[in-house]
Amino acid sequence: MSAIQAPNVDPAEQFLHRRTPVQRIHHVLHAYPALSPLVVLILASLLFGFLNPRFFDPKNLSLIFQQVAVVGALAVGQTIIILTAGIDLSIGAIMVFTSIVMAASASKFGLPGPAALGLGFIVGTLAGGLNGVLVTRLRLPPFIVTLGTLNIFLALTLLYSSGQTIQESDIPSLLLWTGEPITFASFKITTGVLLMLGMYAVFTYILRNTAWGRHVYAVGDDAEAARLAGIPVTRILLTTYLTAGFVYALSAWILIGRVGAASPNSSADANLDSITAVVIGGTSLFGGRGIIIGSLLGALIVGVFRNGLALAGVDVLYQTLVVGVLVIAAVAVDQWIRRVRA
């Protein structure tokens, strides 16, 4: 036998399948959509650690996790909606409304903690479901529907709370449970952070290992193809919005624990922050592509940039500017990755 193996592919085929290094990277990024945000997160952390060694202080890292808990939790709901090629602009408004319902039903109407929490879950889920009904039954674009419900829930929040913040002393301890500290060695996080991480674990399982999860992708990829393949598209969309509503209620609970109060004016930026996290995390705004863990990485990237730039003494306005640049870069990378060819 000679040392040279006889190729069983003809040379023309081999030539056609030859790839440049850029094409290889392209393919890997296409196959593993969470890879690019992971690389950005690691590089950014190393950079900020180099600029200011206090960045890697366990206290500081714990703080970043606590700061991203609410947006990270919301991004779970935003991700599943964006995967169906939708978008939810009412996400922050529903969360704040739900947090006020939870806190006020206890402080104003004397409901015990578990009942107030349960009521909040029902209200949050139904609020998400309202978006779903409008999108599927009236066949309105999700952008318009949620722009409308954004304003509706903002108004309802102010009406229900009379514009007043509900103080910690008036809120049952169960609602504040998500703010309880948990200590691992020198890291100090909260139960809210763990809850948020748990949500990612559960939804990673659902999207990867259940038929429903697969149908969410298929509907977002091509709704007509999904219908012809026998998938009940309307039911998938409706259950997606309902599930997202449930996620917003969980986020509301985390929010109360994080803030230590229920304020009608909190989390004004939550809408766009959640979309930012999803987009930076590599999920396509055109639907059907992406991975939920990417949204956690996206939320962490935003948290790391804000924290790291603050530690480096950069003005807060520049932090926002950098986040804007990140979003545009992420979408540009997504467009490039989508153009993969066999």
């Binding site: 992708y217 990829d221 091509d222 007509e224 999904a226 393949a229 592509r289 060819r341 066999a342």
Partner: protein, 265 residues
């Protein structure tokens, strides 16, 4: 009526099908018969009602009037799922695949297999292994060996390979009839040849095939009988042996009166 015609019950039959869209008439009393073990081509000019006919037979549309029979029994398909339950599978021209999902996921799209036991019943866990294995077997049974990996996203496949995936899905679940809508329209010469071979393989496995096509050479190459649709009606049924392609086109366009010809069985 001769004896053999009476002895054979059509696998699927349409009688006097009517479907209108406002003032536009899609089907105007169309008849249709598909017999066991045959490849029936459906040809017709644009607007002749080919697509409407096929959509009625595949459950994607409900006819306004007329009757559909499967094995001689009258059926009323309300949705695609009804026709599928009766063993009728359709490969649409658009293929109805989810490009970002892999081959196995697409073949089982909407009919996923769950893990046995508690994992499947309570945790709704998909059996990825079983689906990939069966998908591979299905592709091999159809002689499609050129696909590198069953976990490849469909968008990374060529047009012919995508068509093969869609046909494999239909063949995996279609127990009675496979309907192919313009399967070679978007394909090159070599890939078209592969699809035509697939059609013959399906027939050899005993599955009757309905082939909607504009491509006369392809139709005359694989069809046993040719149903010619014109202005919402069936104007003739011919065989490749009895009629030349140019006569078939003439009947299709109305240059030749097809109604004088006997209905080929």
């Amino acid at each position: 009526m001769n004896e053999t015609a009476e002895a054979r019950t059509p696998v699927i039959q349409g009688i006097g099908l009517v479907k209108t869209f406002g003032s536009v008439v899609g089907l105007d009393g169309a008849d249709f018969e598909l017999y066991p073990g045959e490849v029936l081509a459906v040809i017709g000019d644009n607007g002749a009602g080919k697509s409407t006919l096929i959509k009625c037979l595949s459950g994607a549309m409900v006819p306004d009037a007329g009757e559909i029979r499967v094995d001689g029994e009258t059926v009323a398909f309300k949705r695609i799922g009804d026709a599928r339950a009766a063993g009728i599978e359709t490969v649409y021209q658009s293929l109805a695949v989810a490009p970002a999902l892999d081959i196995a996921a697409n073949i089982f799209l909407g009919r996923e297999i769950r893990r046995p036991g508690v994992l499947g019943s309570v945790f709704r866990m998909l059996d990825h292994g079983a689906m990939q294995r069966q998908a591979r077997e299905q592709l091999q049974a159809l002689g499609i060996g050129t696909i590198q990996s069953i976990t490849q996203a469909v968008e990374t496949l060529s047009g012919g390979q995508r068509q093969a995936v869609a046909v494999a899905r239909a063949a995996a679940f279609g127990s009675k009839v496979i309907i192919l809508d313009e399967p070679t329209a978007a394909l090159g010469v070599r890939e078209s040849g592969q699809v035509l071979k697939l059609i013959r393989d399906l027939r050899d496995r005993g599955l009757p095939v309905i082939l909607i096509s504009h491509n006369m050479p392809h139709v005359f190459e694989v069809a046993d009988r040719i149903h010619i649709q014109r202005l919402g009606r069936r104007v003739a049924v011919v065989t490749p042996a009895s009629t030349s392609p140019s006569d078939a086109v003439a009947i299709m366009t109305g240059a030749l009166d097809g109604s004088v010809l006997p209905i080929a069985r």
